[in-house]
Symmetry: C2
Subunit: 392 residues, 2 copies
């Protein structure tokens, strides 16, 4: 039988990263491809205790729950944001099935086919997938290491009347950069002047290698809670499998997202929500985040040393101030897609930069994750990668 599908499936695309992961998980390949935290750091005992407490906390905890999320958890998340200067009421915090769902539900309430979204370039691949599935038009804004460039942003706002500016301003995926405070001020000023909503996607914000140097979150700067929709997650700091993220922003938007979520999946796994609530009470998550920061910083430095010593003419990279990725620019003679096949055969994997860009212009970048592999494997994997780079 021939099926008639929705027009939007034409814009569906299986994630290049997830397809690579399927290949890479087979055999003796050291993978710098995924965006995975280190399983060895998962607080397994604390997670087990928290789930046990949640399940034992009364049979009501196992029943259907409110779409917006478990109130105790929403209050705790609001409290944690407040410490970062993001002042939001618990009623404007909605728990999602990971921050991926936050991007999807936000898109569902905001975008008609043809609507324009401004993004950085490169930007988070799976956000681009969501935006494409809503048949929107994504327009990239010129950026440098400090963030979007004012003149190009203003011009594109005036020309395209975007519904939204989507940014990952702190340890962006894929390129790991941090927007300067001046550029954040500029972005907020233009959003206010032209009445554009900003989506601030902040999955990595807690993984800071130098906390003292961090600029303010955009949501913290939006003191009137009018312009910034903010999303974050515990996937990088507790465990991904709990699938807990959240979204906060203007009340009117969050209320519509709650209606969209009711239709999408009724509510987020409430055993996980209660468990996270217990974990935040009973476990020192901030101390754990300190451990994660130190561990990942150490691994980043190992990878950096190998990159510095690689001695490959024309190879450049941005030194990560946090997050999970190195973003490497190769000389033009390299084709990262072809390189990947050779690299996997040599026992090391990465993600070619291409899918993170809007537009089809040929790119010579690649993303290296430094959080999932142990130091020994990072050294071995980088040796393999450098050998491949030198051989091509």
């Amino acid at each position: 039988m021939k099926y008639g599908f929705a027009d939007r499936v034409r814009y569906f695309d299986s994630s290049a990263v997830r397809d690579i992961l399927k290949v890479v998980n087979k055999g003796d390949v050291i993978s710098f491809a995924g965006g995975l935290p280190d399983e060895g750091l998962f607080p397994v005992d604390a997670v087990e205790k928290a789930f046990s407490k949640a399940i034992r906390s009364g049979n009501k905890a196992l029943q259907y729950a409110e779409t917006e999320g478990v109130m105790a958890l929403r209050k705790q998340l609001a409290g944690r944001m407040s410490k970062k200067g993001i002042q939001r009421k618990a009623k404007d915090v909605l728990v999602t099935s990971g921050s991926q769902q936050a991007i999807d539900l936000f898109s569902r309430v905001m975008f008609n086919p043809g609507d324009v979204i401004l993004t950085e370039n490169p930007t988070y691949l799976a956000a681009l997938q969501v935006f494409a599935s809503y048949e929107t038009q994504v327009i990239p804004v010129d950026s440098d290491v400090d963030g979007m460039i004012e003149s190009d942003l203003e011009e594109k706002i005036k020309q395209h009347h975007p519904k939204c500016i989507y940014v990952v301003p702190t340890f962006s995926n894929p390129d790991g950069k941090v927007w300067s405070q001046a550029r954040r001020d500029m972005l907020m000023k233009l959003a206010e002047r032209y009445h554009v909503v900003i989506m601030e996607d902040d999955p990595y914000g807690d993984i800071q290698f130098d906390p003292a140097s961090m600029p303010k979150s955009l949501a913290a700067m939006d003191t009137s809670n009018q312009y910034v929709v903010y999303t974050s997650t515990i996937s990088k700091t507790v465990v991904p499998a709990m699938r807990i993220g959240w979204i906060t922003g203007p009340h009117q938007i969050i209320r519509l997202i709650a209606q969209a979520k009711q239709a999408a999946d009724l509510h987020t796994n409430s055993i996980s929500q209660h468990a996270l609530s217990h974990l935040l009470n009973d476990y020192d998550l901030d101390q754990h985040i300190e451990t994660i920061r130190e561990t990942y910083k150490g691994r980043m430095e190992i990878m950096k040393r190998r990159l510095d010593n690689a001695n490959i003419e024309g190879l450049t990279y941005l030194e990560p101030k946090g997050g999970m990725f190195f973003w490497v620019t190769l000389p033009e003679r390299y084709d990262p897609q072809a390189l990947l096949e050779i690299a996997v055969a040599a026992g090391v994997a990465f993600v070619p930069g291409q899918p993170f860009y809007v537009g089809s212009k040929k790119r010579h970048t690649l993303r290296l994750n430094f959080t999932n592999a142990t130091p020994d494997l990072i050294e071995e994997g980088m040796d393999r990668l450098v050998k491949v780079l030198k051989s091509v």
Copy 2:
């Protein structure tokens, strides 16, 4: 600031049932309103053990997982369906965040604005919400106690060229009826003749009061796996808070749903998935389902006796052969919406039938849940309700 939302938000609607539940959960109201299983029957010990085993089963279980679901669980679900005559490969079983998400993702890959879906009338309220949010056109088909009526179904297929026929053929929500085998044969015949996909929504199929008398699942009849997309859930038989459902059907449709799910939330909570997999191995779920059937059948009979003895001229109902609901038709002098306010004041709640119907014609029906309240509370609640009905 004035926000520009997507056109689809015009069709969003907060669930009438969930809004009623918010009122009802306050104070001393006996609620027959929700579609909630009895918390007292939750297999708490088994669930706790299963989660503990999942969390202890290796840190990989806490990492990001495959979008389609945990393979061990998909195989078990395929095995359980196979026992009901539904032969599907594990690769065509996709785990969702409850069967609500299955309806949503199916809609996302199938429907353009304006597409026609044929449904029973009344039908599952939250499916109507999903269909509305995709700006589809829902057209009801005339039905009697045995299912849709052939002549009307065929005429509407010819006239409207529907993309899909959505049915809850076994213990339908809200009216609890079971389609006869003959009507199921008829539906399959017309779907094949006119090439229309059927969505069979089966959340209640396991809650049978007389298993010997049950007709076949539509998915079991679709031996070529071409016409029926089937969805079910463990929310009514294990616990709702685990948020595990699944969807199976033609490979081409399931593959697109996997791409849609990747964008929607990456994957379903994998701790829950591993836990359910352990529970299915270590715990006798079929024995537990037997207990649920007996308990709910007893409660249904208590409610039935009260309805029979109510002595209200013109009140009729369908005797449930399973599931969770009585569907009561009142004489025309009653306005169920106005009645609800009086009933809540008198300490008992139900759901007025209106929101379950397509179209705005005035209805005199109400839905009574018999699974969530204990026998004592059912008797007390029915006394209150009958008193209210007599006083109006």
